[in-house]
Amino acid sequence: MHAATPDRPISRRALVASVAAGAAAVALPAVLRAQAPAVKIGVIHCVTGPLAEPGQACRVGAQMAADAINAAGGIKSLGGAKLDLLLGDTQSKPEVARPEAERLANAGAQLFMGTFSSGDTAAIVPVAQQRRIPFLVDISAADPITANVAKAVRDGQQKVQYVYRNFPTSAMFGRRAVQLMGEIFKEAGVSPKRVVLMYANDLFGQTQARSFQTAHKAANPAWDIVEVIPWPEPPADLSTEVSKLKAAKPDIIAPVTRPASALLLLPEIARQRVECMGIIGPGSPGLYEARQIAQLKDQLEFVMDNVPWPNFKNPKTREVAGEYQRRTNGKTFDTNSVFSYDGMLLLADVLERAGKAGLKLDRFDPDLVVEEIRKTRWSGNLATSAGPVVFNETGDNPNASTAMIQILGQKPVVVWPAEAAVEKVVLPRPKR
């Protein structure tokens, strides 16, 4: 018998064998899936981690849309094929996002939708391109995601672009914010001069703040951004930032928040008695969700936000919103959920047209699907938009747009542009 030595790696073979067995177990779920005609869609969002709240909203939106489509008979041109959602969680980490995408691709995903977080989305792009899986980005703020793929195709490094985004780009957010603010000032008959920009110093906040400033410089309106105050996200204390805000004597406060920072910012503004004509967000979460309103109550009243929003003038939207509220125990149908919902409806439309153009389930041709995506001209979306959903050369939807909502009577309603407005804008906000 050989004497054992401390550095003999005995179980290498056993280890490899057990890992292989484990790997086989992992591959098993794919085999056990239902055999009815279906299109498998990998739906990947950051449902755990710091971005869990919006990630979960997206997932529910996608699931609801898929259920509705399946209940109405599925994709008719593909023989009534149902949408089979394969769910993935990125844990808000790019290094998890990529294997998740691979896992779902392995389980047969023919399309991808996701992810909300730009870093996670970027990690999935190569998988989509490598495996030729059309990837609809329902929400992600970083413009380079689609732009890079388009550039690679133009430069000949990639043959086909598989990544498309149905969400306003950050440049669009900034332009719309400045434009809508100008129009609202005119409508309300006020002429504020001093605007203070405050923002959460994370990916979304920084991007929004920059695009707001860029758009402001380009438009050169009568009002100035007199002070810019970022804070680390999530913040523990905003009293000093709000003291600075007060010292800047703002006419309008323009905050880019996240739900956690909004819970700190608005009470602090109220407490320090910062007087202003109004609070208008250039576009951020935290200022309209049902739970935020429940917590902040009248501190949120009259606050405006420039966001992509469901078009409540459409009765279908109201119906879906009601169902969403029931399904999530009281949450509002808002930006994140509507874009994921629309994303799924959009994919269904693309599949219908692809089926008519000759797509077969057993010989799924992604390039045919991509062709149909590029030809999209679809008006069935529930979000407010400047026109039908189309895709430009970068793969973005230039008609994806925003509306200005205001919290009136403790509910978020669209107040501008006039065609989508449900109520009249209130500016300046009444003194307390």
């Binding site: 523990a236 000093t240 010292a247 969700e289």
Partner: protein, 289 residues
């Protein structure tokens, strides 16, 4: 130079220090007695906040009263974690202990996510918006009350450690575990009590801070990092240190937010941390190891 702004910043910083030191006190006790690094500290605090929220929303108990219940619940958790898990790795290398607590933290964070959902919450308390105006500057009464409670808690812990039998046993074990064992101290019981009390402090801190700070399941990491900063700067194992450390970090951050680019506010506390670690690792009040 806007003097009002500076004065306000200073005041905000001082009051905020109370909140910070409350967060740090439990951590310093656990490390001081057991030399165990509780990396699940922040996640335990988040649970304290959620328990306070439950009490406030379901039983209408104000967190300024309910914190006692949170402390008790976290005490039990701490005791169980120590007895059931940490005890088994007391002899193991440091990295193993850290890894264990990481696992505990992961479980706590995601249990909170499963049970309470991902939305940020804040506990409503009538005290939360109460403000006292002294001319152009204001005093946040909720933070003032928390400051007072932090002081009281630190004092209470100090008395506990110096006047009670268990407390003295803890200090003895902290100084010399082997020696304490030799004279008959039930070291395992001391450790469990220390961990339990440390967790209770964290639970109380969470409850008292819940009307002031919005919280969500993933908030544990930031709370842990801040607490470790404070404890190092103040001195591991020293309550006075945790208190002063909390004040220092808070004031530095506040003044930093005024004079530096505001997003660099976080840089201030880390720069302080690095400076302390290099030049005075025992911290301002710690004993030289």
């Amino acid at each position: 130079m806007d003097l009002t702004l500076v004065a306000q910043g200073l005041l905000n910083g001082l009051l905020g220090g109370g909140v910070y030191s409350l967060m740090a006190v439990g951590l310093t006790l656990i490390f001081g007695v057991m030399r165990v690094v509780n990396v699940a500290h922040g996640d335990m605090m988040v649970w304290g906040m959620y328990l306070a929220w439950l009490l406030a929303t379901r039983l209408s108990v104000d967190p300024y009263l309910g914190f006692v219940v949170c402390a008790a619940a976290l005490f039990v958790l701490g005791w169980l974690v120590q007895r059931g898990l940490v005890d088994r790795v007391v002899e193991a290398p440091h990295e193993t202990q850290i890894l264990l607590m990481l696992g505990v933290g992961l479980v706590l964070e995601n249990l909170a996510l499963m049970v309470f959902g991902p939305d940020p919450q804040r506990v409503r308390s009538p005290l939360a918006q109460a403000t006292l105006w002294l001319g152009p500057v204001f005093v946040d009464l909720a933070r003032l009350v928390t400051f007072g409670l932090a002081l009281g808690l630190t004092l209470a812990l100090y008395l506990f450690l110096t006047r009670t039998g268990l407390g003295r046993a803890m200090r003895a074990t902290a100084d010399n575990a082997y020696g304490a064992l030799v004279v008959g101290t039930d070291v395992r019981r001391v450790y469990a009590a220390a961990f339990g009390i440390g967790a209770a402090c964290v639970g109380a801190a969470g409850a008292l801070v819940s009307p002031i700070l919005p919280f969500q399941p993933s908030g544990g990491l930031a709370a842990s990092v801040t607490s470790f900063n404070i404890v190092i700067i103040g001195g591991m194992g020293s309550f006075g240190g945790a208190f002063v450390g909390g004040l220092l970090v808070s004031v530095a951050e506040s003044l930093g937010a005024i004079f530096l680019a505001p997003a660099m506010k976080e840089l201030v506390s880390f720069s302080l941390l690095i400076a302390i670690l290099l030049f005075r690792p025992a911290g301002l009040f710690g004993r030289r190891a």
